[in-house]
């Protein structure tokens, strides 16, 4: 049998640790220093992140072909329980490192222009540094406790950045909402940690995984047997706790990755600066949930995975529907992000580990690209605002025909949008296709009611293409609507293309959204990403484990592949066509669009209000909480306080009795003691008369007395 302390023993010294420390220290340095250097803070922070990107690329090139290097050390021990820290540099971590740092650098660069006139920009760049530091912590650590710590740090920096313009009431409310929703999810995370710790007594993922393999199901109980410091430990829990652990950990991801039913915070989070939305609320932090599922993937059992898949599919569909009637360009992108995250989670749920992570990477690129393009539009429109001209630069109703004014932005936006819609030639196609294929195979194997997952997944493809092109037609084609909306006497400055600071990141991300980046292929299986990261095998006891997709006959995939690809391309194209007919310049919806206050009809309403989820929370759950709070307050005031008051009164009476006893009996004793102590002190001190002869006499007298006493 295996000893836990052998699994989590300290590894030999590896100079790689210095690189890891550097990776995390540099963004942290940016966080600590930017406050002091107000003027050059943006350039300084960007430079630091650039260095970080170079380090990640260097590490990636060094460790690309290795199977994963792990570094572990002792953090502290309590009794014989050791808490360790550990890092794992495997391909997944390397890819995430490069992606996070790459997008972070681009966002820093973009922000140099975007935040140029903001007086708090040093704080802004500091917070970006804090965020990057925390995100890298999640990626690098291979220990659930540390992942949780950095998970919370990420949540904090997200909170601070959403509420960056905290003078705006809506921004601070949105920040609170994000924080609270994430907290609900984190409750699940902690529960998961507690279950795993009580079973395995370690947070180290390597330890957890090794012990999960060795655990077994006996009579419906989940039993883990191992040695710890040479003593046999046998922990037994009801088998359902195994599923519960996975589901509880998944709750953390539900909060962070904005999954149903906690997804309502993400659209509100768009109150933050747009580059932040690109970095945190599209590309990286929200993907941390998916990354975390990937880290714990192998210890999820069949039931937990089913929950994951169902939640993912529902989220993908709901958010896609919500996206198609929004007016705010960032809201559209926010819902689209939720929807795409739903795809990733769905992929994880059906066991398509690689496909989910692949979509994470491609989505990070094209969604960041979309956000930065939208940011450019917002930034340029914002320049037009003046004394008499007030409008919301994020509202698509003021846009239109921007293709003529901002051609580069249009091209970038279009490329990223095509990737989002999942059309061939763009990265989104490869990854989304892989997810759909794996889902289809999984549903075929499962059968029964699980077909609704497949239906939702494919419906989402159609809606995605629809809302994407609705956005493109509304923003870039037709006439510029703003001049008609402003007072007639006001003169409008000409709308210009963004400068190089804005263009470069957009262009790079648009290039990153082309499928050739991942290989000259139409099949996800042939990309280098798939060669690098393979689906792992589930480690939970056999009776609880889900089936591995790779165990299914390969022909199933072959047979379905063509069909799935055709259907998804067909659906995407139909979405495009519907959008074209509804929103092309001069079409019915397009013409009345600018005057509309909110969408009409049941579907439009449901979509615009995101299935009334917010209203449900406010009207039902919040009300229930307030109601029960009142009840509890009453109980507290009347029953508890009454009881305490009674005790207090009783105590006062009793205290008087004690006081008498204390004053007369105890104090008397204490006075006696101090008096005696004082006397003894006087006595011992009185030897010190200051006369040296007397000193020597005294010392010798003591010595002789001692001798006499000892010897006779």
């Amino acid at each position: 049998m295996i000893d836990l302390n052998d699994i989590i023993s300290t590894t030999e010294f590896n100079p790689l640790i210095y690189w890891i420390i550097a990776l995390m220290a540099i963004p942290l340095l940016s966080f600590f220093t930017t406050t002091f250097i107000k003027k050059i803070a943006p350039a300084w922070a960007t430079l630091l992140l650039g260095v970080n990107l170079l380090i990640s690329i260097y590490l990636a090139s060094q460790y690309w072909d290795t199977t994963g290097v792990s570094i572990r050390g002792n953090w502290f021990s309590i009794g014989d329980t050791q808490l360790t820290y550990s890092f794992l540099i495997d391909q997944l971590a390397l890819i995430m490192l490069v992606v996070v740092n790459f997008i972070s650098v681009l966002v820093h660069f973009f922000s140099m222009e975007y935040m140029r006139h903001d007086e708090n920009k040093s704080r802004y760049f500091g917070l970006l540094g804090l965020f990057t530091f925390s995100m890298l912590g999640i990626i690098l650590f291979y220990d659930l406790l540390f992942i949780f710590i950095f998970w919370e740090l990420v949540g904090l920096s997200s909170f601070l950045l959403i509420g960056f313009w905290f003078e705006k009431k809506s921004a601070s409310l949105a920040a609170n909402k994000a924080f609270i929703m994430n907290r609900i999810g984190d409750l699940g995370f902690i529960t998961g940690l507690m279950i795993l710790y009580s079973q395995f007594q370690t947070f180290d993922l390597e330890g957890i995984k090794s012990l999960t393999v060795l655990s077994s199901i006996e009579d419906g109980n989940w039993v883990a047997e191992y040695f710890k410091n040479g003593e046999l430990v046998r922990n037994s829990l009801d088998g359902r706790w195994l599923s519960a652990a996975g589901i509880a950990l998944f709750c953390g991801a539900v909060g962070k990755s904005a999954q149903f039913p906690l997804q309502v915070w993400l659209p509100d989070a768009m109150e933050g600066p747009t580059p932040v939305s690109a970095l945190i609320h599209a590309a990286t932090m929200v993907a941390a949930g998916v990354f975390m599922i990937a880290r714990i993937f192998v210890i999820l059992d069949a039931q937990a995975l089913e929950v994951v898949a169902v939640v993912g599919a529902i989220t993908a569909f709901m958010a896609a529907v919500a996206a198609f009637s929004q007016f705010d360009i960032k809201k559209v992108l926010a819902y689209s992000t939720i929807s795409q995250l739903g795809y990733m989670v769905l992929a994880m749920g059906v066991g398509a580990y690689t496909a989910g992570l692949f979509h994470l990477v491609t989505h990070a690129m094209f969604k960041a690209g979309l956000f930065l393009s939208a940011g450019t539009i917002i930034h340029q429109l914002h320049q037009l605002e003046g004394k008499d001209i007030n409008f919301d630069p994020q509202d698509m109703r003021v846009m239109g025909g921007l293709r003529k004014y901002m051609p580069v932005t249009f091209i970038c936006f279009l490329i990223c949008a095509l990737a989002l819609a999942g059309l061939p030639g763009f990265s989104g196609f490869l990854s989304k296709d892989a997810i759909l294929l794996n889902t289809a195979v999984w549903v075929d194997e499962k059968g029964g009611g699980f077909y609704f997952i497949e239906v939702l997944a494919f419906a989402t493809v159609l809606i995605t293409a629809f809302y994407t092109f609705r956005m493109i037609f509304l923003v870039f084609t037709g006439d510029f609507r703003l001049p008609k909306l402003i007072p007639a006497n006001a003169t409008l400055k000409p709308l210009k293309e963004g400068n190089g600071f804005l263009k470069l990141p957009m262009v790079l991300l648009a290039i990153g959204s082309l499928s050739v980046i991942f290989g000259f292929t139409m099949k996800a299986e042939d990309t280098w990403f798939y060669q690098l990261i393979q689906d792992p095998i589930f480690l939970v006891p056999e009776s609880y484990a889900a089936f591995n997709l790779m165990d299914l006959p390969h022909e199933w995939f072959e047979n379905l592949h063509f069909r799935v690809a055709t259907i998804s391309i067909g659906l995407a194209l139909s979405g495009l066509v519907i959008a074209y007919f509804l929103f092309k310049p001069g079409a019915k919806y397009s013409a009345s669009f600018a005057e509309k206050r909110e969408p009409i009809g049941l579907v439009g309403q449901v979509s615009f209000y995101h299935w009334y989820q917010n209203a449900l929370y406010e009207k039902v759950i919040l009300k229930f909480i307030m109601w029960s709070a009142k009840r509890i307050a009453w109980f507290d005031r009347v029953i508890l306080d009454g009881f305490i008051n009674f005790i207090a009164k009783f105590q006062v009476v009793f205290a008087h009795l004690i006081a008498w006893f204390d004053r007369n009996i105890i104090d008397g004793f204490v006075h006696l003691t101090t008096y005696t102590t004082g006397r003894v002190g006087q006595l011992t001190r009185s030897v010190q008369s200051g006369n040296v002869q007397a000193y020597i006499m005294a010392a010798l007298a003591f010595l002789i007395l001692m001798l006499i006493w000892l010897l006779f």
Binding site: G681, T684, Q688, V692, Y695, A699, F702, L703, L710, L711
Partner: protein, 503 residues
């Protein structure tokens, strides 16, 4: 002739060769001697502005010594008998010497930060004596031969006498005189006892088998008499009862940096000698545990109770050091590997606390010109940071968590408890009870300083400038380990556990 007796088989030539081969092992001691000589030469060559050069040489010498000791830590695989049976170099010795040189460095820093800086660095004489004292303590950690014991103790003592009286004032001279006379008597008693032991055994090497065989032939009464007299000399350096009476006067009169050295280095060095000495005594032969137990109990009690009534902080700390000598003896009393580890741990922590306390007291002394408790009135609100540091040190001296002083007391008493459970000797449990009781008593006078600082308002509105930023940083560096080693005491314990104790 005496020396040759134990090594009759070796020719003189071989002996000299052996001795010169051993010199390499004494590199730290030689560094100290060379530094002292350099100081002397520098003093003779340059006429003016000598203080910078002297300080630089002193610091360099002490730092190099520390470096040599740290480097030597890894090299020592087994105990080495050096210099033809005069001294034994082992892990304990190196550990203590390293700590002594750290103490020496802190002492030098204290001299630099003192208001009387000029006096210390005016010429080389203070530093010369200071290095002599440190050299003496180094030797005391290693000696196994009575003659060498005497030489080492006297080296320390004579340097101490002169250092006490160096700043020519009536008070200093008087204290130095008292110290000298008292020390002379203690030495006389000790060497008288040693001469008896030599008479019994015919050897000066108390670790040799000849010594063990020799004393087993002697009747208990004369043997006890000789042993107690010998131990009396060690107790004098340890500053424990009944040879403790000199310390308050000396501490009060001497400059604070010197007191800080007096109250730590020689004490721990004496403890090392005591350890080696009692290790060579068979408990079945003489009940030395009873003697040391009585000395420990008496020291703790006398020190703590006398400290209660002191009006001067330095005098109070003098009594406190007497009490701590008693606590250190408890570690010897336990006489086990864990006892020795915990005594060394206690000693190390004591050294740190002691330097911290005197350093901070010096800051206040320099400001007010006196060290009575009244000088501390209301200082807490004026210099809150240093006040808190002093509070930390005082809590640590009392031995309360969360300071390392607590761990030190905890380890030393738990090892005493273990020994008691094995041996069941009643003096051990008495020492245990008195130790705990005294810890409570000590709370009263240690917390008196923070009490005066934070709860008593100052009468006169003196614009006090106590300690600049450098002092605050230095104070923090001295105090931080006390907190740190409470939480991470295993760092130091791991070092101590790697020492191979020869019991």
């Amino acid at each position: 002739m005496i020396l040759l007796q134990s090594n009759m088989t070796l020719g003189l030539k071989e002996q000299i060769q052996g001795i010169s081969a051993d010199i390499a092992w004494l590199a730290p001691e030689i560094t100290l001697v060379i530094t002292a000589v350099l100081l002397l030469i520098y003093d003779l060559i340059f006429k003016e502005n000598k203080s910078v050069g002297l300080a630089a040489i002193a610091f360099a010498g002490m730092t190099f010594t520390l470096a040599l000791l740290i480097a030597g830590w890894g090299n020592i695989e087994e105990d080495r008998i050096l210099m033809d049976g005069m001294i034994r170099l082992d892990g304990v010795a190196i550990y203590l010497k390293a700590f002594f040189s750290i103490g020496g460095l802190i002492g030098l820093v204290m001299m630099l930060r003192s208001k009387q800086k000029e006096k210390f660095f005016k010429s080389s004489e203070t530093l010369l004596l200071f290095f002599g004292l440190v050299l003496g303590t180094f030797l005391m950690t290693m000696v196994i031969n009575f003659l060498m014991v005497y030489v080492a103790i006297e080296l320390v003592s004579i340097c101490s006498y002169v250092l006490t009286g160096l700043f020519k004032s009536k008070r200093n001279s008087e204290a130095a005189m008292k110290y000298l006379l008292f020390g002379a008597v203690a030495s006389a008693v000790m060497i008288y006892g040693m001469s008896w032991l030599y008479g019994f055994t015919g050897t000066l090497d108390f670790t040799s088998t000849a010594f063990a065989e020799g004393i087993s032939q002697v009747a208990v009464f004369p043997l006890s008499l000789a042993l107690i007299m010998t131990i009396g000399g060690f107790v004098f350096k340890l500053g424990a009862f009944p040879f403790h009476i000199w310390s308050p006067d000396v501490y009060e009169a001497s400059p604070t940096p010197i007191v800080a050295i007096f109250s730590s280095l020689p004490k721990l060095a004496a403890l090392a000698i005591l350890f080696r000495f009692v290790a060579s005594l068979d408990l079945a032969l003489v009940d030395w545990q009873l003697w040391l137990g009585i000395i420990a109990i008496a020291s703790m009690t006398v020190g703590n109770f006398s400290a209660l009534w002191q009006k001067d902080v330095k005098r109070m700390l003098a009594y406190s050091s007497i009490a701590h000598a008693g606590f250190l003896l408890v570690g010897v009393l336990a006489f086990s590997e864990s006892g020795e580890t915990s005594a060394l741990f206690y000693g190390s922590i004591y050294l740190l606390m002691n330097f911290g306390a005197f350093f901070l007291v010096q800051l206040f002394e320099d400001n007010e010109g006196k060290t009575s408790f009244d000088a501390f009135k209301g200082m807490g609100s004026k210099v809150p940071y240093l006040g808190v540091l002093l509070l930390i040190v005082m809590i640590s001296l009392t031995g309360l968590p969360p300071m390392a002083g607590f761990n030190a007391k905890l380890y030393i008493f738990s090892s005493l408890w273990e020994t008691w459970q094995i041996e069941g000797s009643s003096i051990l449990i008495w020492a245990f009870i008195f130790g705990l009781f005294n810890t409570v008593v000590s709370l009263f006078f240690y917390l008196k300083i923070p009490y005066y600082m934070f709860f008593k308002g100052s009468e006169e509105a003196v614009s006090s400038v106590v300690g600049n930023l450098t002092d605050k940083i230095l104070g923090t560096i001295l105090v931080a380990p006390l907190l740190l080693l409470f939480f991470k005491s295993d760092w130091l314990l791991n070092v101590l556990n790697s020492i191979n104790f020869a019991l």
